[in-house]
């Protein structure tokens, strides 16, 4: 049996890989869930068609990152998977149901005629909304900490439901809405784009508010997190992140008042990246905060090694052809009902 543990910190490698996969999921499905969140507020049906078409070729691939996140966690850190999934039982199931309602809407909506199309508009919207809100609650519960009993989840069915997790749920809804709005700015034109611009500036305020709140509450909630961020010399090393976040916010705020089409989306990605790294630093090195570290949760070295070989070759391929697909569907989305035919 081969294993790379003699020269690699395998759990750390896998922590970075799964961290990257989950981040890519948040960005990629984030913009299409965001489009779903904004969907019913678009001014016309034609706008909605354009928005839908702008994500129809991608949603399936985007959602696959969620499967990689779940499957990867199972493969590389089975103990964390085994504790976290029962802990998040109800929100995960609700997220999955939400994803079903929005996923089928892509195909059903274009096949439906007349009033029944409305059903799938709302199925798409509420599915996206519920899935996002649940993801945000899961995130809030995660940073709040999980009760553990031996190798099992030790809490009760509704541990995930509290004021903080509700707030992170709403925060993620605004975050994805911002991603969705800036994506729509990039992929559409005319009145759809103008509307998305307005949406983005409006949502941006809420995103800033919630980011500020979370950044304040997390150190107050947990003294370790406070010590990590505010002790010296960490304080100086970690300064670039809040500073960059503010810079991105200001640039985005200004861009939304210009004709720029692409940069707002990428600035939003930057804001998400800063937040994500911030949460990563705050919960380091816990995989089940604040009970199980990434080394304790790691699968056997031979298991992590086997999957690593494939990942080293396959992940670049996945990124390459995902990039290719985005390139094939570059440019502005049309409003035709059935762009394929």
């Amino acid at each position: 049996m081969f294993s790379f543990e003699s020269f690699l910190d395998l759990p750390l490698v896998w922590y970075s890989l799964i961290g990257t996969a989950i981040f890519l999921y948040i960005l990629l499905d984030g913009f299409d869930l965001g489009v779903g969140i904004l969907f019913p507020f678009a001014p016309t049906d034609e706008c909605r068609d354009r928005m839908m078409n702008s994500i129809a070729p991608f949603w399936d691939g985007n959602e696959t990152w969620l499967v990689l996140g779940g499957g990867g966690l199972f493969a590389a850190f089975p103990l964390a998977y085994a504790i976290l999934m029962p802990a998040f039982y109800i929100p995960i199931i609700l997220m999955l149901l939400g994803l079903i309602f929005r996923g089928v809407a892509f195909e059903f909506r274009f096949k439906a005629t007349g009033k029944s199309r409305r059903i799938w508009d709302y199925s798409f919207h509420f599915g996206s909304l519920v899935a996002t809100f649940m993801q945000g609650m899961v995130l809030g519960t995660f940073v709040h900490g999980i009760a553990v009993d031996g190798r099992n989840f030790g809490g009760s069915a509704f541990d995930w439901l509290n004021a903080f997790s509700v707030m992170t749920g709403v925060a993620l809804v605004t975050g994805y809405a911002l991603l969705g709005a800036t994506w729509t700015i990039m992929k559409t034109e005319d009145d759809t784009q103008a509307w998305a611009r307005k949406c983005a500036s409006y949502v941006l305020l809420y995103v800033a508010l919630f980011m500020g709140l979370v950044s304040l509450i997390m150190p107050l909630m947990n003294s370790d997190i406070k010590a990590l961020w505010f002790s010296l010399p960490n304080f100086y090393f970690l300064q670039p992140m809040p500073i960059l976040s503010v810079v991105f916010f200001v640039m985005l705020w200004r861009d939304l008042r210009t004709e720029r089409e692409y940069r707002p989306f990428f600035l939003t990605l930057g804001i998400f990246l800063m937040n994500y790294i911030g949460i990563g630093i705050s919960t380091w090195p816990w995989l089940v905060p604040f009970k199980v570290t990434l080394w304790d949760a790691a699968a056997a070295p031979e298991s992590q090694s086997l999957l690593l070989i494939g990942t080293v070759f396959l992940l670049p391929c996945v990124l390459a052809y995902t990039g290719y697909c985005f390139w094939v569907f570059r440019g502005k989305a049309s409003h035709e009902h059935d762009p394929a035919y």
């Binding site: 399936d60 493969a75 089975p78 029962p86 994803l99 309602f101 099992n152 094939v328």
Partner: protein
Amino acid sequence: MFSQLDPVFLARAQFAFTVAYHITFPAFTIGLASWLAVVEWRWLKTGNPLYEQIYRMWVKIFAVTFGMGVVTGVVLSYQFGTNWSVFADKVGNVLGPLLGYEVLTAFFLEASFLGIMLFGWNRVSKKMHFAATVIVAAGTLMSAFWILSANSWMQTPTGFREGVDGLLYPTDWIQVIFNPSFPYRLVHMVTAAFLTTAFVVGGIGGYYLWRGLHVKHARIMLGMAMIMAIFVAPMQLLFGDLHGQNTFKHQPAKVAAMEGIWETEKGAGLRLFAWPDQIEERNRFEITIPKLSSLILTHDLDGEVKGLKSWARIDRPPVGVVFWAFRIMVGLGMLMIATGLIALVLHFKKQLFTTRWFHLWCVAMTPAGFVAVVAGWFVTEVGRQPFIVFNVLRTSDTISPVAAGPIAISLAAFVITYGLVFTAGAYYILKLIGKGPETTEEDTYGSHGVKQPPLVTDLAAGTGGKDV
């Protein structure tokens, strides 16, 4: 409120429901993707527009089915953790990498190139579009490879050891991936998927012929489907037999349940009909063909077949479900072979496309593949009970520490959601079938859906549109 309910039973019911629902979509899309690749290849090779029109009709059905397969598949990748967290913890070292490879080699490939397959007509060349179809088809097969390897390992686990901590550790990856039942299960399932698709395509072709609609397209559909029924359905009987032999060797209790045999017998008969009684340990209303079971399983009229009583009561699978699911699967397989034989006879009499009762028969056979696939999975999964990893881990020991209440409510939520989604999906697929292949070239010019130049439209209007 839920305290009297058994969480193990609820978790099993939930997984059985979600996985059985899910498998019907891959069972169809694995075959459909490969068939679409063949149809597109025929189109590129012959330039016959009928193939293009068939492709464009079926790719829409593919899209609806694939979408439902994706969303119901995501559920499964999380259910291992939500409902079977102890299982996930104990076998994660062994099965985790296999599922990881499935995502990396198959899911991304399918999901990414599906976009091009559906929406890429005007954006990539014909060859690239064909490549996308082939890649999606390859992705579906790759996915089948990994998930069936993982499932087969749970049936016939090899290449692992049990650690002092109670977790399972891999010792030989080749033995884990290519475990004893894997090659048989893979061939049997992929063939089943091809047959499922063939009978759906054949059923729709038969429907059109029966109604006298889209006759040219229907002939191609029915013809291609019957090629599968004639050649592949009998092969499936052989693959199934080999798979059965393999099960007989590694999981004899499952075979005893499939055959409804309680006492160890030499020269065991084949029970055509019986009502197995788990408590009284016997069959009621038995109709038996003498010695046939021994002949099939051991290739010897007097070969010994172990009966269910050889195992302690708590180690026996539920007999009735396995027994009857097996008969449903085999019965439908026989009907598929019969369909192929009739088609062959009609073909030689040059009546395949004119025999109306046969077209109606094909319509009736449309769901045969789905039912057979689900029945087959019931045989193998229920037959593995009471173990989740055969002879290693008991199902009842691997459940999540979640109360019956949330499991019962989520089960109900899945049943309602899937019911709604299935109804809508079936409705839109039936609508697409009702619409049929689009042959009118009114607003398209050439094969890439480009808008027709106005000049040509005007000319066409002048000639009554006959020449367009």
